[in-house]
Subunit: 404 residues, 2 copies
Amino acid sequence: MKHLGRFQEESRRHNLGTVLRHVHMAGPISRSELAERMGLNRSTIMGLTAELTAAGLVREELPRDTGRAGRPSLLVRPESDRVYVLAFDVRVDRLVACRVGLGGEILERREAARRRAGADLDDVVDVLAGFGRELYRGGDAICVGLGAAYCGMIRPGDGMVRFGPDMGWVDQAFGTELGDRLGLGLPVAVGNEAHLGAVAEHVRGVGVGHQNLVYLHGDVGVGGGIIVGGKLLDGDGGYGCELGHMIVNPYDGRPCGCGSRGCLEAEVGEQALLEAAGRSGELVGREGIRTVVAAAADGDEAAAEALRRIGDWLGIGVANLINLFNPGMIVFGGMLQDIYPGAADQVHRRVEANVLVISRERVSLRTAALGDDATLIGAAELAFAEVLASPLETLARGTLSPLA
Amino acid sequence: MKHLGRFQEESRRHNLGTVLRHVHMAGPISRSELAERMGLNRSTIMGLTAELTAAGLVREELPRDTGRAGRPSLLVRPESDRVYVLAFDVRVDRLVACRVGLGGEILERREAARRRAGADLDDVVDVLAGFGRELYRGGDAICVGLGAAYCGMIRPGDGMVRFGPDMGWVDQAFGTELGDRLGLGLPVAVGNEAHLGAVAEHVRGVGVGHQNLVYLHGDVGVGGGIIVGGKLLDGDGGYGCELGHMIVNPYDGRPCGCGSRGCLEAEVGEQALLEAAGRSGELVGREGIRTVVAAAADGDEAAAEALRRIGDWLGIGVANLINLFNPGMIVFGGMLQDIYPGAADQVHRRVEANVLVISRERVSLRTAALGDDATLIGAAELAFAEVLASPLETLARGTLSPLA
């Protein structure tokens, strides 16, 4: 019976986590809806929600007038003010941090512009740890996780930045340092920004319901996050999805930050667009890109032609990805949200010309629904992973050490 | 307790399937090794192997002299002669069928050359069903599944060939027809040849132990099978992994059978190699390719240069795949087994130039271990899937109808 006892224990933990995940993702949800989604009877659900309520993770309340006769099913709500994570986002042009309540709402945020290059680990961690201190809430509230998105290649185990081309970082212990400086006794889970953007769009954005989805994230370069069978493609070391380094132009390709030439990110990145539009000496970053997009909309032929040229290269990349992944959706995030509308004709043309008819029967092409916060929301989801896997055990890990 | 009873039933079925899978994959395996691999105690394992033995799926026997003192652990062997599947393989140049015993051994096979084009569904099914009749064994033996590999895009549910470029098939009900003609009362599970080759190399070939693996299969064109996190990447409709239609040459690419230009398969396929070697009027197929490879080895400079040129395009494709999938292994199968050795330098050069250093830290490039039978063995594994998932239920489905 020992074996059976262990099973029952695991099964209970699994079911508690699943209930909490539904509440976290769906927001207020009735017990009867939970019972239906999980295929369990209502008394089992009642037992589970009672445990989560006692732990202070959810609360149950009568719905407002349902307009129907009979006893209404109680609504289960996440305790968003009490149970939260801190999420951090190291973007190309800014540092962002926020407190996110269980249920996914951003409760409070801090942002600072950052210099594009030359930022060292200390500077970045300094700013983010300061934000963390401001966003932290003690007392009755409990921080259940820390997550960060970084624009580079991240070692999953410890959040080491193996390669951060934008800042010139190689093997910088970002996750460990940030965790130490926050001093909350919690590790910081770090992920690549495009991976996390893909997860966010998959669970809370335009890709909800899609089991196979490719997310392209543009900033200075182009990153990617690919959902295969409902899960992020990580590969052997966690470094998969580097779609920005797919070679699309093998002959006279533009030089790429990775040392190669003709990569997708070299052909469709910020610099390529600004140069093609004859505006490389002017504004850079999102502002620069939006200026080109606005000019094209106003009839500037050079700007429109630049968008079309970018669109053709982007289309080759997208066509390759559809042939490889047979996804239900392609999502354009980061600065590609701005570029895509003016480049969509070229992208569609490439998809029609270069993708097998059967592989593109059901694919749709969309811009991100979560806007620039996709990566930040993905970092918050990474931080929530543990409490959703083992709700009571994660809470029971004891009172957090006060901030240093 | 009803819930618990159902759980115990499911758990027992799951454990029976897992034991049978270990025996099927590992060959004769001791009870103690099974206990260790499954994390169960020896008495539980004994109960499971007793059930499988009673059903006639395995038998237990004393090992030969172990050279060690003490009571030896019984060996569990698959009942390979009694429990079998029929596997079929529609290749570009031939039709192959075999009877494969539980445990994976090919017990008997039939082959016929086939005309390259113009074969209609009836002809193909005729030959394969004839082979099936010759390979079928009744009496005490039991056929537990039917599987087929086909060189085209396959709808997973019913084995419909949506697109078979090589034979010009569009929406041909291959799986259903073959099943009807065999008349065994079993459906035929059909898969794309490269998908099945990847699975075979993953479970029985050079890729054993790799959770992330890319298999490139060359025949007239180039197909692919990609293992992500231990599972075949299928995509929304089951049509993923079409790596042969990745555009590698966007400027003056060769025309491709899919209607596009510059696809990987157009640049590295049979026709490209034969033309580059100045031998397009001579032998075709594997013979043609082997002639070029042999000529290059004998110092024919045109043939060697053709292999190098193919290798450069192949290298671009491989580099893109490593950046995307961060795999532990790339496997070259089909005619790429012949081409790769003479093209390896160019492929490695491209990998070094175009793959991020971190993404290629641990990848190795290999030729298929199962040779040309990878696809056939993959079809057999597809046929075994059901008995490995629910051993007793699959057997209990009753005596098979005799062949018509």
